[in-house]
Symmetry: C2
Subunit: 122 residues, 2 copies
């Protein structure tokens, strides 16, 4: 059996985030019980800030700038764990939310379920 | 209090998926216990096929074609629930996996955790 090279993107130990053409990857945030909080995007700077501060920071595609979640609302996301997927183009972040994670005031953004073609509030 | 219009994207009951410039949105798939399985993309056709068949179908960005998960491996994802986020550009899918959801053979794609700058297998 050939040992896995640490730089192998899928099996190795090197963190080599794979950004898309816009320099972004997808980040999913769930609470410690696995409930979905939000989905957003990160560039290299957002990842570095998240790691440095322990609070989730994203790249706002609509505003075209770095956006620390909770910077105005105070509803920061304190990061407990960061996982990466096989090809390293998505992150799975477990975080403690300091308040509602959705800008609508809902605990998380996925508050509606599709039922027979229509959305039903959960 | 003004009643919410059913077409209101954030609060209404109309399913109006918001696709990006490439006609795609992000779909996160978890198992019924909330464990992450995979993250992929869907276009309108993939959503329609998923709803029609009850098995998760995506758009493969690398191959540029519709891709039913498990079409070759048999490891289909039987959909239990589909949720949509506030601005309807992401789906949260709860599914029963018929086998490992990751092409590497892992149960899910997020099998490594970032610890002190390196990836550690969970």
């Amino acid at each position: 059996m050939t040992p896995t090279h640490p730089d192998d993107a899928e099996q190795g130990s090197a963190f080599q985030p794979k950004f898309d053409a816009n320099g972004l990857l997808t980040a999913v945030v769930v609470d410690p019980d696995g409930r979905p909080l939000m989905l957003a995007h990160m560039n290299r700077e957002a990842i570095d800030m998240t790691l440095a501060t322990g609070e989730a920071t994203f790249w706002s595609r609509s505003r075209g700038k770095i956006w620390k979640k909770g910077e105005t609302s105070g509803h920061v996301l304190r990061v407990r764990e960061i996982r990466v997927d096989c090809d390293q183009d998505a992150l799975w972040i477990v975080a403690d939310p300091a308040g509602p994670a959705c800008h609508t005031g809902a605990p998380g953004c996925f508050y509606r379920r599709l039922e027979d073609g229509a959305l039903v509030r959960i």
